[in-house]
Symmetry: C2
Subunit: 243 residues, 2 copies
């Protein structure tokens, strides 16, 4: 589990559903790399996934949307639940205690944030160029990290990222269009789209086969050419068309 605006939450967690949290793996795609948003907690060197709690009269998915908007400034985000992390052993109160101390709080032993949490895992796909990462009240920074070079993460957050990635891989073919439309800018080249695929699947694909397959889906519209200044043929730029 993680946290947002904890100033607004008393030591008893009033106003929020007890024992339930959500953690989000927020994916962006930039320079042919998948990246995720991580928070760094003040004076602790601890990294964590953005997370939040559910208000007493708020839908679970709405809470996820609210939290996503707070971290990225975006309101129309593609997001989906992928797993509930509910092992009793997953929660170790120590990291949270240090975080709170580093924020000048002196938590009692049965402080709300130090109890066991079950956490609903969400993955979100955002347009890297549009998101404006914002730290939460307990953290110094909220920034993009290359999936292949993640810092050590709090608790079981590493496992949560792993599971989110697995989910992406399993469902890529089925969700292709929605996902690519969420992760890429409005227009993109075929090479960029292929690179997104390859990054998620972690395998090289054949260039010509990929092109054919994508075009055969009938969801791409060719706009014009993109002159990159490179000494080679200018690639076409594509856009998704409403199905």
């Amino acid at each position: 589990m993680s946290h947002q605006s904890p100033d607004a939450i008393g030591p008893d967690g009033a106003g929020y559903l007890p024992g339930l949290a959500l953690d989000a793996v927020i994916f962006g795609f930039h320079e042919n790399q998948l990246r995720i948003l991580l928070l760094e907690y003040r004076n602790t060197g601890l990294f964590a996934l953005p997370g939040g709690f559910i208000r007493e009269h708020e839908d679970l998915n709405a809470a996820a949307r609210r939290m996503l908007a707070e971290r990225t400034g975006l309101s129309d985000i593609y997001l989906e639940q992928f797993y509930v992390f509910g092992d009793q052993a997953r929660y170790d109160p120590e990291p949270m205690r240090s975080i709170m101390r580093a924020n000048g709080l002196t938590p009692t032993d049965n402080h709300w944030l130090l109890r066991r949490f079950v956490s609903v895992g969400y993955y979100a796909l955002v347009d890297f160029t549009k998101a404006v990462p914002r730290p939460d009240a307990l953290s110094d920074s909220c920034d993009w990290y290359d999936l292949n070079r993640l810092p050590a993460l709090m608790q079981d957050h590493q496992a949560i990222v792993q599971k989110a990635l697995e989910t992406l891989r399993i469902n890529l073919d089925r969700k292709l269009v929605e996902w690519a439309a969420s992760l890429l800018p409005d227009t993109f080249t075929m090479a960029e789209l292929q690179s997104l695929y390859e990054t998620i699947l972690n395998e090289k694909l054949h260039r010509s086969g990929f092109q054919r397959k994508m075009l055969s889906l009938g969801v791409l519209e060719r706009i014009d050419k993109k002159y990159t200044g490179g000494a080679h043929k200018a690639p076409y730029v594509y856009r998704f068309v409403a199905g």
Copy 2:
């Protein structure tokens, strides 16, 4: 959400995680039909999915296993989370109030069971011939109902069943072997296996293509012939071999 052994749970729900429940869609396959287990509540005519709560020091998935074992008598069940139902509007305290009254309980307005619950949906696949359905403390019966002829269900349980079925359809190809091994008896005919497929996908498949595809997976072992007394060639009986 639902309930188990509520006698052991006081009006404050002590010993259990608050606000969190689990509901299970327990699938069995019999006479070429998919069936699920439903509870019927005493004197109320209300039908519901089997459900339960999580003990304070229990893993979420372990709680699901415990509940599954209580309802079916089986301990080695294939089960998986598929969605968290967390809409604020989903919980209507009225049905639960009637159920409690029908059981001679006089719930206070803020009784634990009458508050909002977020519920983790599990689907489970069991061998129909081995399961021994057992009602829980609040219900009269726990029985199999044909998926195509379900009675009206409490709350959003109809939607939960729908979502579970969707999940089955989406993942059938990928999970094929595990699932068929869980749902079918130890030995079965190719026609039975095909019928299971057709029931889950809700579409007819070509007989010969299906046979070829299944055999090409290399996980079926042909045992011997099954003489049904029918005036036709006796089908072979198959068994899954450990991959």
